[in-house]
């Protein structure tokens, strides 16, 4: 079959005629150190040419516009421009320092450049772009009037040439790939600007007004005052470092990212700054004396702006940060990095910026901790800092920044609610920034975190009769940020506030106003509580709110409840005897618990699917073969080898023959082979032994011998290669000492994979994955791209239950305390899972009894306590926990229906 593909004409040649390759040629510029004005001027000219082309309205022209904008964006950046010059200039000469023309004498050009970057970074002309542009203008000292004038000027420049721009753009399928996507959104800028400016100066004014007004309740930084505050805050955080900073040399300056690009959170600038710092630290002749202040600026920009970045951008930045951490550690300068990284964790998060920085620092540290080769001292400092902050204390090593950020949201809400800044709307705005960036469109997760924060705010302090209530504004903000999707949690929380006389009326009134504003069905403007409302009015309103929130939450009909109860009875009657069957049954019980939660929340379809799923056991993979510990054999070929004496050829031939025959070594021969591979002499013998151990890489005796003898094998890059082959993972050379530790760890993991795997591992992994999914289902979540362990899943579920639900005393403080004490003595992931689950069961019990007081919850919990104590292993304890959770809900249904289900 031929793989010939039809020839696709080059769009640039088609639209602009024959054009040499490279960004300079594409823009019609000489490959020299062109100025910013030249770049933007050429861009305009080229766009005019495209618009004037007969192909102006074709996809090819669109591609060319994309390419032009991408090229202009590259050349706008001095650092990238210098790199490109090295590639495209005839003599490969980079411009000398001092020749640069980045002073940006023309402010309008600078603003235009910021506009390009802001729109490109923000995925189009949206709230985030406005926010970025406002930040950039503020940093340049550009006022809104001047911005409006510049935008008007920009528009008029282009309207003279834009006949084709008014044509309807061809719809294009979404492209994958960062550069193309970024270029595509940049290409929309002039079109939209033209439309705006083409409509006259009035529209330009609207743009400016939009800049201030159009950002939503969670993105309100576009006002000049807030912009100034943000920037001032950024400078303030860097001040102590700047004071210590030595004056930069001209060479240093060349590597420093443009300050304004950092101020607006340009992901590429931040990433490049990390890379440049890593490079500078890696060059022994360069001391990089200002590394700390530069890192402070770059990380400060990231911490400030991460919520505006795309996930691929945060991933790239964190990757560069990891490299920087290793580069710093190799120069024993990691402490400078650590100080900056942990600063937001150890200072008070009292405003929007510092709350975002806290989340960024916690998530970055969690990502760094994932690096197993991190120097121990650095790891210890980072772990200590992470644990020192209540919002991040639950974080552990994670593979992705975004995953850590997700995990921070809920604890952050609880931490803020219990902090001295619980009533600070600015701090809560920061929380909402973090929430929206981390959880995206996951409404249930966002609501749960927001509700947790609101719970804390509603019950903090107390308002005096005379002073205005301190928490009303925060309550209003958080209530306004809820989706008000009805759920049992939401209903219980709101009614709980009405029931609790300690909750100030002003805060309840704020919540009611938010409900009215959110158009919650059954709630209208007559239901807003007056500040002077008495207890009677409060109870009256409670009944109305209860009815309004009951609407959907009452969801399941009698038939659905009966189906659920029948399924529960059926599963509760089953028993299990092996670890895998216990966890399988626990997973199915957990599915029914999740189904009941879904019913109570009005998610009937999901509940039905879970009930159906729970009826089917997991197909269990076969057990693996039991392994034996390699031992020394009395007839070991190692003796035969020793008897060969010093003959080089005989010894080399021995290993060649062993490899050819596929000889399975006993422990003594394996050790002999490892010793010869590591230290054998001469090289012919050593190489032959290495070939043999490489060929036997999965052999238990070889792996065990390699682990046990790793401390006697000389550290060398050559030895590292065959050790990597045995460990089945690349062991990087990190200098003497550190390399051996890395090899030890890699070989231990390989050996644990062989010897520390249970015979029932395949089945146990399968059922534990199902259990994790079941617990996530109770949260209304799915695994997505990031698989979670059952322990992580139940940790998330319990954390949410503890944060969102409240017992009669307002908090589950006893349950929390018990949990912490139990976790302190838990050994390993399984026991930790038992205790997280136990806390969840306790909360479910108290909630069931609160919702339906007739529920015989105490009897169920007592039975569970006895079962848990009598259990022979942790698997049985987990099964007992799931039984108890389901029994509680089943008993509640009986209590509510009088046994009718």
């Amino acid at each position: 079959m031929s793989d010939h593909k039809p020839h696709k004409p080059d769009p640039v040649s088609l639209v602009l005629g024959p054009t040499p390759p490279g960004p300079f040629a594409l823009l019609g510029l000489p490959a020299t150190d062109v100025s910013l004005q030249q770049v933007l001027g050429s861009l305009h000219v080229r766009l005019e040419q495209v618009n004037a082309s007969p192909h102006a309205a074709t996809p090819a022209a669109e591609d060319v516009r994309l390419a032009l904008h991408a090229a202009a964006a590259q050349l706008c950046d001095p650092a990238v421009r210098r790199l490109l010059l090295g590639t495209w200039a005839g003599d490969g000469r980079a411009p000398a320092q001092g020749e640069r023309d980045d002073g940006i004498s023309d402010r309008s050009v600078a603003i235009e450049r910021d506009l390009h970057i802001a729109v490109g970074l923000s995925g189009g002309w949206n709230g985030a772009a406005m926010q970025r542009l406002a930040l950039a203008c503020e940093a340049r000292g550009v006022g809104l009037d001047e911005l409006a004038a510049v935008l008007a000027g920009l528009g008029s420049k282009r309207t003279t040439t834009s006949g084709a721009m008014r044509r309807v753009a061809h719809p294009r399928p979404p492209t994958r790939g960062g550069v193309a996507a970024a270029a595509k959104v940049e290409s929309r800028v002039p079109r939209e600007l033209l439309l705006l400016t083409g409509a006259g100066a009035g529209l330009v004014v609207l743009v400016v007004i939009a800049l201030v007004m159009l950002t939503g309740p969670t993105q309100e930084t576009a006002t000049p005052r807030q912009v100034a505050e943000v920037l001032e805050g950024g400078l303030r955080s860097a001040t102590p470092l700047v004071m210590e900073e030595e004056r930069r040399t001209a060479a240093d300056m060349a590597l420093v990212a443009p300050t304004n690009d950092l101020a607006i959170g340009d992901a590429r600038t931040i990433e490049r700054e990390f890379v440049a710092l890593a490079t500078a630290l890696g060059q022994k002749d360069q001391q990089a004396p200002d590394a700390r202040s530069r890192f402070s600026s770059a990380f400060g920009s990231f911490a400030e702006n991460w919520h505006l970045l795309r996930r691929d951008e945060t991933t790239a930045i964190l990757s560069a940060l990891v490299d920087l951490a290793f580069a710093a550690s190799q120069q024993q300068r990691e402490s400078e990095l650590v100080v900056v990284l942990i600063e937001p964790l150890t200072t008070r998060a009292a405003d929007r910026r510092s709350v975002r920085a806290l989340a960024a620092a916690g998530s970055s540290v969690a990502r760094l901790l994932q690096e197993r080769d991190l120097p121990r001292g650095m790891r210890q400092q980072l772990e200590t800092a992470l644990r020192s902050n209540i919002a991040t204390s639950g974080l552990g090593p994670v593979a992705k920044f975004d995953v850590a950020a997700e995990q921070v949201v809920l604890p952050l809400a609880s931490a803020l609610a219990s902090s001295d800044d619980w009533s600070s709307t600015e701090a809560w705005r920061g929380f909402l920034d973090v929430r929206d960036a981390a959880l995206g469109d996951r409404v249930r997760g966002k609501d749960a975190a927001t509700l947790a924060g609101l719970q804390g705010v509603m019950r903090r302090g107390g308002a005096s009769d005379t002073a205005p209530d301190a928490g009303a504004d925060a309550a209003s903000l958080l209530a306004g940020a809820l989706s008000w999707t009805k759920s049992s949690e939401l209903r219980a929380a709101v009614l709980g506030w009405f029931d609790d006389p300690a909750v100030p009326t002003a805060r309840l009134a704020a919540v009611m106003r938010a409900m009215v504003k959110s158009s919650v069905r059954g709630v209208d403007s007559t239901m807003v509580l007056a500040a002077s409302a008495d207890a009677e009015r409060r109870q009256e309103l409670r009944a109305q709110v209860a009815a309004a929130l009951q609407d959907d939450a009452a969801g399941p009909g009698a038939e659905a409840v009966r189906a659920w109860a029948a399924a529960a009875d059926s599963l509760l009657a089953l028993d299990a005897s092996t670890p895998e069957s216990m966890i399988d049954l626990a997973a199915r019980l957990a599915e029914l618990t999740a189904a009941r939660t879904a019913q109570l929340d009005g998610r009937a379809d999901e509940a039905s699917a879970l009930i159906t799923s729970a009826a089917t056991p997991t197909p269990l993979p076969a057990a693996t073969k039991a392994r034996e510990l390699p031992a020394a054999a009395a007839s070991s070929k190692a003796m035969e080898y020793l008897q060969l004496g010093p003959s080089q050829s005989a010894r080399a031939d021995f290993w060649k023959k062993a490899m050819a025959e596929g000889r399975v070594p006993d422990l003594l021969l394996a050790r002999m082979a490892i010793e010869e591979a590591g230290r054998g002499s001469p090289a012919t013998v050593r190489d032959a032994a290495r070939d043999y151990v490489r060929a036997r890489f999965g052999d238990e005796a070889v792996v065990l011998a390699a682990v046990d003898l790793v401390f006697s094998i000389p550290e060398s890059p050559e030895n590292l290669q065959w050790l990597s082959d045995i460990a089945q993972t690349k062991i990087a050379w990190r200098g003497r000492g550190a390399t051996r530790d890395a090899a030890h760890l890699a070989l231990l993991e390989a050996a644990a994979g062989l010897f520390a795997t249970r015979v029932d591992a395949p089945a146990l992994e399968a059922v534990s994955e199902r259990l994790a999914r079941s617990w996530l289902a109770s949260l209304g979540e799915t695994e997505g791209d990031n698989a979670v362990t059952p322990t992580e899943a139940i940790r998330r579920l319990t954390t949410r239950l503890l944060a969102v639900q409240r017992d009669t005393h307002g908090t589950h403080s006893d349950a929390r305390r018990r949990l912490e004490a139990r976790l302190a003595i838990a050994r390993g992931t399984l026991q930790e899972c038992v205790w997280w689950q136990a806390a969840a069961v306790e909360v479910i019990g108290s909630e069931a009894m609160r919702r339906t007081p007739a529920t015989p919850g105490r009897a169920v919990l007592e039975r569970w306590n006895n079962d848990r104590r009598r259990a022979h292993n942790a698997f049985q304890q987990i099964l007992a926990g799931e039984r108890a959770a389901l029994r509680l809900l089943r008993a509640e249904v009986d209590a509510a229906t009088g046994g009718g289900a």
Binding site: R376, L629, L748, F755, R758, R817, A824, I825, R868
Partner: protein, 303 residues
């Protein structure tokens, strides 16, 4: 069961028997104030048990005094937890017991008990975090012992921080708890095998005579089974800071039932009959009930 564990068992029995010895008032161990304090004890006042225990422990110049203090702390936990408002006393007593315990696992458990009794006694986060550097050396030690080395392991075992890490992970040194820190000490002393220098092959009369070592037979002094080795490997990874979350790899000891830090189990664990709550005639007795004299048991429980 290994020899060292028989020795541990015998030692424990001897200690238990010794603890049956009654610390009588004329033993010269307790002062007049101590005796008066003992006679004044009543379970409705758990704080008195705690205070007297602390006073007696102020002069720990006799094993009997130490044992009596421990006894009093256990009773303070038990009576305190049952007394309304006595949780703080019970928690303090649990912490006092923890400070006396030579075993890390027991200390952790008692501190957890204290935390469940009263919120003020919750340990600050990370208060007993592992030492990564010592953990790495502990992991190296186990590898070297498995390799048959002795000299370097003895050096490493001389480091108190390493020993602390090993005590913390002691339960994972074997699959069934039969290998302890003392076994590591013993193995390090025995190794390397004097006959084969730890290689497992004896070459007493030149290479041509190479044969399996008649002394060690190619085995290390730890004599670990495959389950023990599996447990050790996971412990080593944990000592190196690697979390192991896959359930398919948990060892039997990791799958053991999770033990609740339950204050009601303190007296059971320490083997003290708390029904005998008052001190009369040099021994613990049941308190007097209306119309009854105080009852003394025929066997005096451990002080």
């Amino acid at each position: 069961m290994k020899a060292s564990h028989w020795m541990s068992l015998i030692a424990a029995c001897a200690l238990a028997m010794a603890s049956q010895v009654q610390p009588g008032p004329d033993a010269g161990v307790f002062s007049r104030e101590d005796i008066e304090g003992l006679h004044a004890l009543a379970p409705e006042q758990p704080e008195r048990y705690l205070e007297l225990g602390e006073e007696i422990l102020d002069r720990p110049d006799s094993p009997l005094r130490v044992e009596m203090a421990r006894n009093l702390f256990v009773r303070a936990v038990e009576y305190g937890r049952l007394q309304p408002g006595g949780e703080r006393v019970a928690a303090s007593a649990a912490l006092a017991l923890a400070s006396m315990s030579p075993r890390a696992a027991e200390r952790r458990w008692l501190r957890a008990v204290a935390a469940t009794l009263h919120p003020d006694y919750a340990a600050p986060a990370g208060s007993e975090r592992p030492d990564p550097a010592a953990g790495a050396r502990a992991a190296e030690l186990i590898t070297r012992l498995r390799a048959g080395e002795g000299i370097r392991p003895r050096e490493i075992l001389g480091d108190a921080k390493v020993r602390g890490e090993l005590v913390r992970g002691e339960a994972a040194l074997s699959a069934d708890g039969t290998i302890g820190l003392t076994d590591l000490d013993a193995a390090a002393k025995k190794q390397p095998c004097p006959t084969c220098s730890g290689r497992g092959i004896a070459v007493q009369q030149g290479p041509k005579s190479a044969a399996l070592c008649p002394a060690c037979k190619g085995r290390t002094a730890l004599n670990a089974s495959i389950d023990d080795v599996a447990s050790q490997l996971r412990l080593q990874l944990a000592l190196l800071g690697e979390r192991q979350d896959q359930w398919g790899k948990v060892t039997e000891s990791e799958a053991a039932p999770a033990r609740d830090p339950d204050a009601s189990e303190v007296a059971v664990v320490f083997g003290i009959d708390t029904k005998l709550s008052v001190w009369r005639d040099g021994q613990w007795a049941t308190p007097q009930r209306p119309g009854q004299g105080e009852q003394t048991p025929t066997v005096v429980p451990a002080p």
